[in-house]
Symmetry: C2
């Protein structure tokens, strides 16, 4: 039973059905060389990705703008339920150390739906201001675009089952 | 394998050997009606305690000063390894929601040592300023006193095995 509870005043939710199986979505999300191919809207790129798939384990990516500026993201995993639920946060660094720039917790919820997947991505904030900032940063467009990129990547046969 | 790594510039550590068994220490720490009896230096008291022993589950206490002022603490558990390791934080509320006042993560590490327990409590901070503030709040005296209170409570036969 997940303890994740959506609060519409604080959280942002992207929910859609996608026609790729849950196991491949899981692999695309949890394997660095796959995640690097789709996790940021193009033409941005991911230049590095570290995934230590344990509670408290590192989840680090570096995003690179088309102009060449790099933006590191540092956080850790909180909850891992294979093929169903992946929770991570930037409020804690690896080893559960409090971070200097706490912003949000993310929960990815997956459910089989026919041959595809019900795909729910939730950004959990501590304040309405946090939610609003994230909305203005383009949460819906950004997370929607990368979901599209992930589906295209999986359909191109790049992720082995 | 724990991902907890002590950084002496950021963290505070209380380590001692206590002559009560690891199973009773675990019960004293994870049962609200036991924890209320020893978790704050007397004559302060704990007026309420909620423990939902799951990752993301609530760990809430309210401390009451001798003058009657109440201080709520709200956080969640991160890692639970029965009789060995309990990790919790105030940087995330139940359901992993970022908190408004992130301060520290605590790790309690227990190891059997003869008939007793090697008892290690670690306060993990994100900055040297956080460590210093916690030191000045009286981390060592406070956590040491409550460890003494817990041992006395267990030796008085209050915690069933």
């Amino acid at each position: 039973m997940s303890l994740i509870k959506i609060d519409p005043s604080l959280d942002l939710v992207l929910e859609r059905e996608i026609d790729v199986p849950v196991e491949l979505v899981w692999t695309a999300w949890t394997t660095p060389h796959h995640l690097k191919e789709w996790f940021v809207p193009k033409p941005w790129t991911i230049t590095s990705c570290e995934i230590d798939l344990r509670p408290g384990g590192a989840f680090r990516t570096t995003m690179r703008s088309p102009e060449g500026q790099e933006f590191p993201n540092d956080g850790c995993f909180l909850e891992i339920v294979e093929h169903r639920r992946l929770v991570f946060t930037d409020t804690l660094l690896p080893g559960f150390r409090p971070s200097a720039k706490p912003f949000f917790t993310a929960a990815l919820l997956l459910e089989p739906a026919g041959l595809g997947t019900k795909y729910t991505a939730i950004a959990i904030h501590g304040s309405e201001a946090g939610r609003k900032t994230h909305e203005e940063m383009g949460f819906h467009g950004g997370w929607g675009t990368v979901a599209d990129q992930m589906v295209a990547y999986i359909k191109a046969g790049k992720v082995a089952n």
